[in-house]
Amino acid sequence: MSEHAVTSPEVTFAHAPAEGTGRIWKIFWLLSGITIIELALGFGLAKDWYGDPETSHTAILFVKGVICILSLAKAFYIVSVFMHLGDEIRNLIMTIVVPLCLFIWFIAAFLWDGNSWKNLRNRYHGTPAKTEQVAPAATEKGAKD
């Protein structure tokens, strides 16, 4: 097995090639299944299954949260099995995964910031317009001139 398996001098221990393609197909069905669940939940969002979008914010946010978690599960299986990161040694896994932890702050901080912009604009720009455009401000300016 080792005569062709060692591909470069950096490789100390070659991975034993996988025996069959069973695991690949298992992950394929898993990814397809998760995608179908996501699509079903998303279809529910389209058809207002979880209540009126104007009032049941919590229920809709919960469904969207579930969809996000399912997407993270898909990402995990793609990286771990299809990209074979799960088969690498711990050092390689850590050198990729640890920097990606930056995303935790990155997402939280910027979405928080976006929400804050919205709140500030709504507070200091009069009542939230039915459209998000700032047309009322433009006419005010025009009136002063």
Partner: protein
Amino acid sequence: MSTAAAQQQTKWWSGGRSPFNASYGKVMMWYFLMSDAFTFGAFLISYGTIRFSQNVWANPNHVFNAFPGFGHQDLPLAFVSLMTFILIASSVTMVLAVHEGHKMNRKGVEKYMILTIIGGFAFLACQAWEWTHLLTGEHVALLNDGTLSVLPTTVKSNPWGHEVPHEAMIAALQNTSHEKLVDIASTLQHEGGAHHSLAGLSSAELINTIQAANIHVTHTGPIAFGGYFFGITGFHGFHVFSGVVINIIMYIKTKLGHFDDRGHYEMVEKAGLYWHFVDLVWVFVFLCFYLI
């Protein structure tokens, strides 16, 4: 030799070997993909920030509800599901190509690389159709100046705001110029192609025609929507395109027997890493633009 037991005894950081037990090229491919993940992440987070800062955002189920050959039927998520499954399927054929490469089976690698390349082209074709559909779409929207206009979805116009109540729509029709009324009326009768006869009608006649048709009119939405959508899906589509080019090169090199001469198919593995990354990014593009 038990690999697990041997790894325990190896001093990975004491020099003389790669602490990652992987070739230079593979480690660098991982680092490249990590940096690319941050690029895509920054784009998507920027999109999220702007979306969170708006009171209204385009509802994906209204924007992406068309399917080729089904006209104006409302089919939310249908086309994007097709695109997602195409990409998952081509990811599987790619990993099967890598698997055949481990077994030094040239014929197997060739077969699965071809299937992967076909999947990539199929995805690109779907994206081309979707972009064309959005860029040439005709939606009647209420502009901020109180008139109605026919708008496509581009980086400069977004017709996907709140729905306009019927009375407000009728009031806006009175403010709309004759030329725009002809445009709106012509969206109602695509089959006829009777643009000339419409131009001959008076504004009042056109308004009557439009009112009778019971059309949906929306406010304009945040202009940022088009820029983010076309920017991010375009950047992803460019990755798919370059992935297809890399896969074609891998196919040709396999066909020429370069990897058999070299004694291993690690190049295919590295191209595979890139291709799976493209699929991985699509998971999040799909999530952020189409699902939630």
